[in-house]
């Protein structure tokens, strides 16, 4: 049953990926990438990694889809057809894919109890956290306590990313308001609106 579910999910994942490559409508692509994240979340559930699956469903399928749609509202709706030949990129993809498949031959088998990930620090954490932390969810215990410094760093990364986006985009918002008070209002609808705004601020 487990194998059947895995095969079905991976087939759907591959179909979604092919559909994303073949589609030209950017709106459909954003929606399909949300579907892709949701299918990845399901695969993570079958691997018993519910915390990661939860994050994938919330961030990948939820927030990033919304943010992509927000970005889409600022650009065009259709992907421009590529003018280059697709042979060389296809070759690169095939070679890279073959190398990755070759690399998986060295990986431990699915669910192998002797895999390096299972025998390194994981048993130690599992044994110690019952006594030291006494939290049923070991993931939380490792994340917040044993690796508190890592998580502090991750929070700082999220903070930095947020500040960076704000500095990049909110500055433009202030310029737009300046422009609206100018009573000029001819640009903003065409693709040159951006450069016009910059020119206006420089002048």
């Amino acid at each position: 049953m487990q194998i059947f579910i895995d095969i079905v999910l991976f087939t759907m994942l591959t179909c979604t990926a092919i559909a994303i490559v073949r589609t030209r409508s950017l709106f459909a692509i954003v929606m399909l990438s949300g579907v892709f994240s949701l299918l990845s979340a399901l695969l993570l559930v079958t691997l018993d990694a519910v915390d990661v699956a939860f994050t994938e469903a919330a961030v990948g399928a939820g927030i990033s889809t919304v943010l992509m749609l927000g970005t889409l509202a600022l650009t065009s709706r259709m992907e421009k057809p590529s003018s280059h030949s697709s042979f060389v990129p296809f070759l690169v993809v095939v070679v890279t894919g073959a190398a990755l498949v070759y690399g998986t031959l060295d990986m431990p088998h699915f669910g192998d109890p002797n895999a390096p990930a299972q025998v390194h620090v994981a048993p130690d954490y599992l044994k110690r956290s019952v006594k030291e932390i006494d939290v049923p969810n070991v993931v939380t215990a490792i994340l917040a306590s044993y690796r508190g410094f890592d998580t502090l760093g991750e929070t700082a990364v999220v903070f930095t990313a947020g500040i960076a986006v704000l500095m990049l985009i909110s500055g433009l918002r202030r310029r737009r308001e300046d422009e609206e008070t100018d009573e000029d209002g001819t640009d903003g609808q065409d693709s040159h609106g951006q450069t016009d705004m910059n020119d206006k601020e420089n002048s």
């Binding site: 519910v50 927030i63 970005t71 932390i133 502090l152 947020g162």
Partner: protein, 146 residues
């Protein structure tokens, strides 16, 4: 989206439930899947859904941008402040035993609660701030083209 009556009613019903679920994920993260990162995203989703359906101006009346920007920094401060607090109590940075030296795992529970809260606050702030930054810009595509 003023003509989508069903969407508007359902959104109003859902927002409260989403926020409640975010608090559940936040404070029940020690016992069930979840934690600060997931809870922050879910909390942000409540405001983003409201903003999509009712407009950015409406949601910014509930959750103004200056408050969002304060939250972004506040979360990191809560997290780092927890570490400072443990140092003042005579232990190492982020050693939660300091909160209850006579009952170490209880102290761990409390420390995990604080740092997860910090993570949740920052993630909520960042997600909502990014959404505001994108949604406040004038759309190039008109509504009908979707």
């Amino acid at each position: 989206m003023h003509h989508h009556l069903i969407l508007r009613v359902v959104t109003k019903l859902l927002c409260g439930a989403i926020i409640l679920f975010a608090f559940y994920v936040q404070f029940h993260g020690d016992f069930s899947p979840g934690g600060g990162f997931q809870a922050g995203v879910i909390m942000a989703v409540a405001f983003i859904v409201y903003g999509i359906v009712f407009g950015v101006d409406q949601v910014q009346r509930v959750f103004p941008p200056w408050a969002v920007h304060k939250l972004v920094a506040l979360g990191v401060l809560v997290y780092a402040g927890t570490g400072i607090a443990t140092m003042f109590l005579g232990y190492e940075y982020l050693d939660y035993t300091a909160f209850k030296p006579y009952y170490p795992s209880g102290g761990q529970h409390r420390g995990i609660l604080y740092v997860e809260l910090g993570v949740g606050i920052t993630v909520t702030g960042v997600m909502v701030a990014i959404y505001y930054a994108f949604a406040s810009r004038p759309p190039v595509i008109s509504d009908e083209e979707w």
